[in-house]
Subunit: 217 residues, 2 copies
DNA sequence: AGTTTGGTCGGGCAAATTTCCCGACCTGCA
DNA sequence: TGCAGGTCGGGAAATTTGCCCGACCAAACT
């Protein structure tokens, strides 16, 4: 019976809020071609659950402690480049949407959307398409009108400069000395920058900076 | 030739061994167009001394604790891209020579060389040329005969793989999981790799990996 | 004027990581 | 047969991170 039978869509639900998971599990299972095969309440469990269940679609809330939602997306995509991940978020800031897609998400739906939108989006990403709810599309469209060169737009003057020097290879102490700041402040910026850009590793940060032309190789 | 020799060549001497500094200061000051304007016994002091004295040439031993010699070179070159730094080392391994030039050194002389070689090298780098002692040249020439693609040659199989994944943005935990190692071992490798390549910062490591084609951006 | 907003700057502190050193186990090679 | 070197991880002190907080200041509102 384990053969490719019912042509259904297997789903992994990731959200740190049990009640929310329950609610949406109910909604999703109302569709008779949907099967919620697993749930997870954090990034690590999401990764594990993905490995053991290999669902067709991962529906994931990324606003979990530690910006770990983005991390989870990257982890999963690193393991399986074909993984379909649909982000299901409370917010729809352009930066977060971009970060999600940048991390490898296939879709982005806000929690304010109609269930029908979520369901349609799941079917879309299951087919390998990209999907996003109307409000997200509107925000992104608006964003694309204003001059935006990258995910670094969300960073302030100081943050950019610190990222630049950091990516260039400078130590935090050196940066602090160059900018006449305390090492602590530079550390705080470093943390802030990672949080804002959704990068989890220093290496990712450097790559981002290089990609955005902030640092020349 | 209308050379600028009115002021002679000002020199900053960097070595963690006071006796060695004293000895070479004496040798160098025997040349009446040489002026040793400052000394330093570690990387941090070298950087400070360079900033306050802006010498024509920095003569530096790079075998100081923490591989900080290379760091000092990078720091100084970051501050002043025209800085002339002559490395004066005990060893002449190809890897170290390459690391030094890679960091921005203009010359490399071993401590086993004749004083005349050091003096000639100082004049060379002061003129903006590159210089190295005969033994160093021989080692490098030999190295250039065998297929060598980069500073990564000194790394073993495992180290390369770990560096690759690290530069790709993976967490140490992920790398450990991927390679079936303990996190501790990956941390140790990470440390080892930085030590071997002379990179002080994760960012520098990433740049190195990208430059060497280990990681595609 | 008064207030909200947002960038800049740093303290605090538990938890995690780095740094460096060490021993053990293989394998190849002299 | 011995030893050099790559691989793997423990240990422990020092440092850094992650996350939270308050303070200052300037610009943009109301």
């Amino acid at each position: 019976m384990t053969t490719v039978t019912t042509r259904g869509i297997s789903i992994l639900l990731v959200d740190d809020h049990p009640v929310v998971r329950q609610g949406y599990r109910r909604v999703l299972e109302h569709q008779d071609d949907f099967r919620v095969v697993a749930e997870a309440d954090n990034a690590a469990n999401a990764y594990r659950a993905f490995k053991s269940h290999e669902p067709d679609v991962v529906v994931m809330d990324i606003s979990m402690p530690g910006a770990s939602g983005l991390e989870a997306i990257r982890n999963i995509r690193a393991r399986d480049a074909d993984a379909r991940i649909l982000v299901f978020s409370m917010h729809s800031e352009a930066a977060q949407v971009k970060a999600a897609f940048g991390a490898g998400a296939s879709g982005f739906v806000t929690k304010g959307s109609e269930p029908a939108e979520l369901i349609a989006a799941i079917r879309s990403v299951a087919r390998g398409e990209h999907a996003m709810s109307d409000d997200v599309a509107r925000v992104l469209a608006l964003e694309s009108l204003v001059p935006t060169r990258s995910a670094l737009d969300q960073l302030g003057e100081r943050e950019i400069e610190i990222l630049r020097q950091f990516a260039a290879g400078s130590t935090k102490e050196q940066i602090a000395a160059n900018l006449n700041l305390s090492t602590k402040t530079v550390q705080n910026y470093h943390y802030l920058i990672k949080a804002k850009t959704g990068m989890r590793t220093d290496a990712q940060l450097v790559r981002l900076a290089v990609e955005c032309g902030l640092a020349n190789l």
